[in-house]
């Protein structure tokens, strides 16, 4: 009996003592930043219909959730992601509220199957925010992106992680423009995306040379996605990228970059043309947050203007979230 009692399901754990206090402190600090920017905390259901997540995250990502049948036979899931539930709320319960909606959350999420070997935990906590329904005209659109990034910077500063942190930004339109120009089908697009995401230089080069015998611009793109950097990235990119869609996305990214140049923490930011994860979900700016001491990404986000439409109301949306486990891992070693 005793050995049975001490058994917990794989991937689950207790947090206690110093670590539990640290988690509480981190959560409070992050939420205080959201609060200070006028974001309202929303508590969303931990258990919901699986169909909701399948619609919001796509079938592949949603399939990692814990699923089971309700008494009436309908398929339920333990919340694997908060954004889907907030998108549904924005399109339904909050549809008559004045726009833009500024919402934030600190919520547990669960996954039955890990995305990677380093992601052994099956329960986590996401601290995040969403800005929904801001006007889509050019100054406001850029301002919304900058508002997100300045909150990311404020959180990093509040946690005193500015010397151990790198925040990368990209715009998915740049890749999409190249993919369209190369006439890639779904499979080719996914193959290119995966090669770029893994920074597989020879793989990308081979892929591009096969398809771009006479198209020097696209072949050069292979080198561009290997680099990360700052202002000089735009000069390099403009020499290579000529198609209309990519140029427009590049312009938008540069406008956002200029917007954050005035932020105190701008040394933490970098342009990363090679960030091509979850391309089908995002529609504009994408953000990734890396912190030393956390083996995996500490947070991510971006613009997903097509998401709310899936729930019946077409409007802009942008958001990001931090992973509390990663923040705790990063701060555990410090004197916090």
């Amino acid at each position: 009996m005793p050995e049975l009692l001490s058994k917990i399901p794989p991937g689950m754990r207790y947090h206690s003592g110093r670590e539990a206090r640290l988690r509480r402190r981190i959560e409070d600090r992050v939420m205080s930043i959201f609060n200070g920017h006028g974001y309202e905390e929303i508590v969303t259901p931990g258990l919901d219909y699986y169909a909701l997540f399948e619609r919001g995250m796509g079938a592949e990502a949603a399939s990692r959730a814990f699923r089971f049948a309700d008494a009436d036979g309908s398929l339920l899931a333990l919340r694997p992601d908060v954004t889907s539930t907030l998108a549904r709320a924005a399109a339904t319960f909050f549809s008559t509220r004045p726009r833009p909606l500024r919402l934030c959350y600190a919520a547990n999420v669960w996954r039955a199957n890990a995305r990677s070997g380093a992601e052994w935990r099956r329960e986590g906590k996401h601290l995040g925010c969403e800005l929904i329904g801001a006007p889509d005209e050019s100054p406001t659109r850029i301002e919304s992106d900058v508002e997100m990034l300045s909150m990311v910077a404020a959180i990093i500063a509040k946690l005193d992680l500015q010397d151990a942190c790198r925040i990368t930004i990209n715009n998915v339109g740049i890749f999409n423009g190249i993919a369209a120009r190369l006439n890639l089908d779904t499979e080719g697009r996914e193959q290119a995306r995966r090669l770029i995401d893994a920074r597989d230089s020879s793989g990308v080069q081979n892929f591009l040379t096969e398809r771009t015998r006479e198209d020097k611009d696209c072949a050069e793109f292979g080198r561009l996605v290997q680099m990360t950097g700052r202002d000089e990235m735009f000069t390099a990119a403009r020499r290579i990228i000529t198609n209309e869609q990519s140029v427009r996305a590049l312009g938008e990214l540069e406008a956002v970059w200029r917007g954050i140049a005035t932020l105190e923490l701008n040394h933490c930011f970098e342009i990363d043309f090679g960030d091509t994860s979850e391309l089908d979900y995002y529609t504009g700016t994408v953000i990734k947050i890396y912190i030393a001491g956390a083996g995996t990404r500490a947070g991510n986000g971006g613009r997903y203007d097509d998401l709310i439409k899936l729930f019946g109301q077409s409007e802009t949306a942008i958001g990001f979230m931090f992973d509390l486990d990663a923040l705790t891992d990063a701060l555990k070693g410090s004197n916090e």
Binding site: A118, R166, A198, R199, D200, Q226, T228, Y290, I291, G295
Partner: protein, 238 residues
């Protein structure tokens, strides 16, 4: 304290990688290398090398315990680790292939993949012995062939000879072991070579030293290629 930790797959891959590195000026103390220590620093103290089993390289790198690593593409494919692989080192070049006993595949040699399909019609289910259960399962699944995977940890070539399996999925370098055990390659799944892999977080937070390493290694690879005779090269890549 060193700036970056590199996990190397013990054995031949380790020696070839260290040779590439030494050509670009990154050297380890000979005595330290001869010792049985599993963690040593280079002569400048900037780089720490750890020596682990090949299959463990992606594990260390994925968790960020090592910032970078060198292992075969076969190991990477099998581990499905979420790591970056910016450089093909062009060392330890092999193929991952399906092989069957020669006698059985004689008339089907021209038929390529159909060989395998033919065999399952008789047996109902193809039995595959391998050290690479994930690669094998994925490969046959993509071709719609139901398989029973028999996971072994070595001497896989014996399995079809003794009747444990119908075919094998294994790493093939020269093909000599296959021939000597009466097996022949019926299909190539993928090419494999030594890859330099990087942890996703380290790639951004230690970008300076990692970019430096990548540049140096890339230069050494080009130099190594040139020193090989052109003819043998053409032979290999026909």
């Amino acid at each position: 304290m060193s700036e970056v930790t590199i996990a190397l797959a013990k054995g031949r891959m380790q020696n070839q990688t260290l040779e590439l590195l030494s050509r670009s000026g990154i050297r380890c103390d000979e005595e330290a290398l001869r010792s049985r220590r599993l963690s040593i620093e280079d002569t400048t103290g900037r780089i720490r090398f750890i020596f682990v089993k090949p299959a463990d390289v992606p594990v260390y790198v994925e968790h960020g315990t090592a910032d970078c690593g060198v292992c075969g593409a076969d190991v990477l494919m099998e581990s499905e680790a979420d790591v970056l692989q910016p450089l093909d080192l062009n060392i330890a070049c092999c193929t991952i292939a399906v092989a069957q006993p020669c006698a059985r595949s004689d008339d089907a040699m021209k038929g390529k993949i159909d060989t395998v399909a033919l065999r399952i019609n008789e047996a109902g289910m193809l039995r595959v012995a391998t050290k690479y259960p994930r690669i094998a399962r994925k490969h046959f699944l993509e071709h719609g062939i139901p398989v029973e995977i028999i996971e072994l940890s070595g001497s896989v070539e014996l399995a079809p000879v003794l009747g444990l399996a119908d075919c094998i999925v294994d790493l093939v370098e020269t093909g000599r072991t296959l021939i000597e055990n009466g097996l022949t390659i019926t299909e190539t799944i993928a090419a494999s070579s030594g890859r330099f892999i990087v942890n996703r977080v380290s790639y951004h937070l230690k970008s300076g030293i990692i970019a430096e390493l990548l540049d140096k290694l890339a230069a050494s690879i080009v130099a190594a290629d040139k020193s090989e005779t052109e003819s043998s090269h053409a032979e290999n890549y026909k």
